[in-house]
Amino acid sequence: MTATPVLDALGADSSLASLAPRADFPLLAAQPALHYLDSAATSQKPQVVLDALTNFYTTANANPHRGAYALAAAATDAYAGARETVARFLGAKDADTLVFTRGTTEAMNLVANAWGAAHVREGDEIVITALEHHANFVPWQQLAKRTGAHLRIVELTADQRIDLDHLAALLTPRTRVVAITHVSNAVGSITPVAEVVRLVRETSPAIIVLDGAQGAPHLPVAFDTLGVDFYAFSGHKLLGPMGIGGVLGTRARWLECQPWQFGGDMIEWVNDHDSTWNVLPHRFEAGTPNAADAVGLAAAVRYLEALDMRAVREHELALLRSAHEKLAGLDGLTIYGPPPEQRSGVLSFTLADVHPHDLATILDQHGVCIRAGHHCAQPLMRRLGTSATARASFYVYSDASDVDALVHALVEAQRIFASVAD
């Protein structure tokens, strides 16, 4: 993507084309008037992902790891191949350190149960932030309640970035877990991971768990050099199918985990009164795996690799800058979060006295899909002093027409609500 210098010169580029052809996405191709600006909730799917799903079911469907016939071997290979592909995409050399889950929520519950329950004791400390999605908030809150550990919440700067000074102040030798979002889904703030890692390693033995639900889809991720212990993500937010995601961990940390779900695949040997466990990654994948969706996810990450994640980031940043400029001209509009350079393609805002819920309904009439609500981040909303914001979010298929439709529909909403005098 070479548009950045042009953008810098012009401030905003109203001719911004999509990075990925909309024709690649059957839903978007079928609805040309739709302006889908809710990719932070879930992304649309390219045809190659749908084809991969169909192909698995039509050529390789059998229960992986469970049959001595060729078809079962094909299913096992497809599943293992998907693991290799996804691990490579996220910069992990050792594919066996990628455990597939239903998504980020299940991944966080896995880490909180499998590592947390084995290592967090009464009086220990768990550090999370006020920026977290409930998926990276409630599992730790509940672990703290169960174990008698203290939950510490890092507060935010005025522009909703993690306050690193406060983080530093909260870390102690008793801190066992630091669970932080890589990118905020509600306001888009990007966490300076290297800085967090340095602070944590300086002062505590804590493990660092990153919520990558909004990181993996929008930024290049190199797990092996990030320096964190676990990294969780959801496939459906990065062009993959719903129902598949995962968590990368360092081998050392995985070996400190207790199995958390029990059943087929995760065992080595079952005796009447005790059992032994399979090796990584199977130890943490009880039951028939979601092989088909893993294969679909692998197709999604290959699609993203072909686009190049650096170009994805540049594209979103260009859209964000352009949207920022256009929205800033609207009366009564408040945009949350840090400047675009420190944000992923998320635009969270409120419009004077038009409630976000009303905005979403009115925008919907213009074919503009945005999210209105607390974005599963009620602790953050409390700190913003609002119950809800409106959120538009961009992805590889977004273009200038989406930004323009958003602005146009917002002006309409303003007009409706201004039509009744105070």
Partner: protein
């Protein structure tokens, strides 16, 4: 009872002037503080809105009523209209009214609803918004049961 021109009919049916007026300047703001006030509260977990309704009964009649909370135009207008509609009515009348409102929000043709409340009929076309209009009525129900 008109809305800005140039909008789809269903949208202007929901965002009627009357609804926007109740949103801008709600009636019955504030749960009464008197002793004996019964309060019901409802939350919409989807959007984080919350409305509570307080009633003070005098025998079988609603002597005083008010609401608190944060809501969108539909939730706020519905709560505001509710306080107007139920003040001075008997509990039985109010329960019948709540049933009629619920039917109207489901898109059924109802008779017997008076005044501003009828403006909520347009919400039935927006299933995602029916919960907003319903919140105050459910809170009132809780208050009367409680």
């Amino acid at each position: 009872m008109t809305a800005p021109s140039g909008l789809p009919a269903s949208l202007s049916a929901m965002y009627q002037e009357l609804i926007l007026q109740h949103y801008r300047a709600p009636h019955g703001r504030g749960v009464p503080a008197a002793p004996g006030v019964r309060v019901g509260a409802r939350k919409n977990p989807l959007c984080g809105d919350a409305i509570s309704v307080g009633v003070l009964l005098d025998g079988d009649r609603i002597a005083e009523v008010g609401f608190d909370g944060q809501g969108c135009s539909i939730a706020t207008a519905s709560a505001s209209m509710l306080t107007e509609a139920v003040r001075g009515r008997s509990v039985a009348e109010v329960k019948a009214m709540a049933t009629a409102v619920e039917a109207m929000l489901r898109g059924e043709a109802v008779e017997g609803l008076e005044g501003d409340l009828r403006a909520l009929a347009g919400v039935a076309r927006y299933p995602q918004r029916v919960g907003c209009a319903r919140m105050a009525w459910l809170a009132l129900g809780d208050a009367l049961e409680g």
